[in-house]
């Protein structure tokens, strides 16, 4: 499909969801991350037995943990290098700015990792600059080249607001 789109002169931008997993809240199933290393992959509440829910789906990926951070960047690299994807649209990207206890970080490592990775240079990065717990950062999304901008034009079938950058 990507090959056909490229032949037609169309770039392919992938919608990636690095804010929650399918494992739900504390009553959810054990599919992967929960049984591998629960406290590394998820943001937990203070009592450690409940999941912080900034995504509205029951759990929140702990994106700024070093191992998870590396997984995210490795995943993006895989899509770019092996699957020839041209850009990404990050679902609820503002969650990527939260640290292990859910507090907003001034310079979130994962965003700077994505931004400065040589393998990802030239890809389009589009952020959905809010999350489900009321954080709204359209126009003020962190990062040099994730350019602040509002693009919420009305569309026919779907509406996306994006803060974007093009390197």
């Amino acid at each position: 499909m990507v090959k056909a789109l490229h032949r037609a002169g169309i770039e392919v931008i992938l919608d990636v969801v690095f804010n929650h997993t399918a494992e739900g809240d504390h009553r959810g199933p054990t599919l992967s991350f929960r049984g591998l290393e629960n406290s590394a992959y998820y943001i937990l509440e203070q009592d450690r037995s409940r999941y912080a829910n900034y995504s509205g789906t029951g759990n929140t990926l702990n994106a700024n943990h070093p191992v998870v951070r590396r997984m995210i960047v490795d995943s993006l690299r895989y899509w770019v290098e092996q699957m020839h994807i041209d850009g990404f649209r990050f679902d609820l990207a503002s969650i990527l700015e939260r640290d292990e206890s859910g507090i907003l970080m001034p310079s979130p490592p994962v965003l700077w990792d994505i931004e400065s990775d040589p393998a990802l240079a030239g890809t389009k990065l589009i952020a959905e600059a809010w999350d489900a717990s009321g954080l709204y950062q359209v126009g003020s999304f962190i990062g040099d080249s994730w350019r602040n901008g509002m693009a919420g034009s009305a569309t026919i079938f779907a509406a996306f607001s994006v803060a974007m950058r093009v390197r």
Binding site: L5, A8, G9, A22, P29, T30, S39, T123, S153
Partner: protein, 462 residues
């Protein structure tokens, strides 16, 4: 073989000279001319060439004058020939490396040979010519080990990705019980045990003769695989095998399960990952040769179930690999059994080994490989702000350069959907880059991740 420079070195060499094992020819030249003589002696040895040679750099110019010496120089092995070109070097710690070399030689198989290159400061090599560097560290020999008494910083560039650096990696008090990583190279055998545990085979040095024989090649391949696995810590496929690696800090045990079918009750093979040999920091890894793409696998992780401390290990569940490139969902997949107690091997999703290199891209390049600069095929920041309309299927949106309401008729929309879906366009006169003419510059593909059945979220009070 070494050149004496200091009193300390002299005493070291004398000691070593006395303690040398029988059958070992020890040469202890004092200056450059004696080096020539010793090389000539070596060349006159009819039995065999030395199986290993310890370099110590001379500091004085080469003064070979006689014809015998020149002859000796021409016939000397390449490794010896590099002696006069060797840089000035600080040899304060000389001595321990020799015992390492003896150890290595004793532990190697008879066909393999070890070469030891002594340098207190590896940076010297950078300023030498390529020829000299190749003669000291032949590019063919990939099995390289650097032993460093202090910080390991800087050695990586000499041992390469498949090599290994042993040295001090952490700070703090020395552990006495085991010669584990992060310690000083203190005992004669400690470093060797450490090395042995990190390589599959028994001998880490692979000589050119080992490389030539089929068995040797197989060993080499396996060792390379293992070394690469350690270096990358990723679940990727290499020629001749698959490396599995998964992160878990608090787990007490990890098992790799290989399945034949997606709904098997029992795995075909179960490999228990041994933390003593196959756990590097918090990564549990193992390399399996002879696996093919399409192999189904999963993990079973043992550990405490203690939600109050954030640990929710469940050895009854088959877990997906976070780095897995493919997922297979069995027909009887059940989200409920993954939530309840007990084994869910038959109803769990499994990861699949995928070889992405097998796909034929037919000349298509990734965006980072395309030449930089403005290009007509690239959409710009302004384009991305533009309008989106529904693409082919329900999972894509097209980003257009203009308002589709104005200028795209439903027939044209249908047409560009066909192009985007890869349907060959047969309309006469249709140029190759149809998408651009229609105003589509990018296509947004939604839901790349594997989604399970719809998740119903209940409120916490429920």
């Amino acid at each position: 073989m070494g050149e004496e420079r200091t009193a300390r070195l002299t005493s070291l060499l004398n000691t070593w000279h006395r303690c040398a094992p029988s059958g070992l020819v020890t040469l202890r030249p004092a200056d450059a001319n004696e080096v020539v003589e010793s090389i000539a002696t070596l060349c006159d040895c009819t039995t065999s060439l030395p199986s290993w040679c310890c370099h110590v750099s001379p500091c004085r110019p080469w003064t070979a004058t006689s014809s015998r010496r020149r002859q000796a120089w021409r016939t000397a092995p390449t490794c010896l020939r590099t002696l006069p070109a060797a840089p000035r070097s600080d040899l304060d710690r000389f001595g321990s490396e020799v015992s390492l070399a003896v150890d290595a030689h004793e532990n190697c198989s008879p066909r393999a040979s070890a070469r030891v290159w002594c340098r207190c400061r590896p940076g010297h090599l950078r300023f030498q010519t390529q020829e000299y560097r190749d003669s000291v560290l032949p590019p063919k020999v990939k099995a390289r080990v650097a032993v460093e008494q202090a910080s390991t910083f800087g050695w990586e560039r000499y041992v390469g990705t498949s090599g290994r650096v042993i040295g001090m990696k952490t700070f703090g008090p020395r552990r006495r019980s085991r010669s584990s990583r992060g310690n000083l190279v203190s005992s004669r055998t400690g470093w060797w045990r450490q090395l042995k545990s990190s390589w599959v085979g028994s001998d880490p040095w692979i000589s050119s003769s080992t490389e030539r024989s089929p068995k040797g090649r197989c060993l080499l391949r396996r060792r390379m695989l293992k070394a690469l696995a350690e270096a990358l810590l990723l679940g990727h496929r290499f020629p001749g095998g698959v490396n599995f690696s998964v992160y878990s800090r608090n787990a007490s045990g990890v098992e790799l399960l290989l399945f034949n079918r997606e709904d098997d009750m029992q795995p075909e093979r179960m490999i228990t990952i041994d933390p003593a040999t196959n756990r590097t920091y918090h990564y549990w890894h193992c390399s399996l040769p002879d696996l093919q793409p399409g192999q189904l696998y999963g993990y079973r992780v043992h550990g405490p179930f203690d939600p109050s401390s954030g640990m929710r290990f469940d050895p009854g569940k088959v877990l997906l690999d976070p780095y897995g490139c493919g997922v297979v969902v069995p027909k009887n997949y059940s989200r409920v059994t993954a939530r309840l107690e007990g084994d869910n091997a038959s109803t769990a999703m499994k990861s699949v080994v995928v070889d992405p290199h097998a796909y034929d891209w037919e000349g298509d390049t990734r965006c980072t490989a395309r030449p930089p600069g403005p290009s007509s095929t690239r959409c710009t920041s302004e384009d991305l702000r533009g309008t989106q309309f529904r693409g082919f299927g329900k999972n894509t949106r097209h980003i257009c350069r203009f308002d589709p309401e104005d200028s795209i008729s439903p027939a044209t929309q249908h047409h560009c959907r066909r192009i985007a879906a890869g349907v060959p366009v047969r309309r006469p006169g249709c140029p190759a880059r149809t998408g651009q003419l229609l105003g589509i510059c990018a296509s947004l593909v939604l839901r790349a991740h594997r989604a399970t059945a719809h998740v119903k979220i209940r409120s916490p009070s429920e």
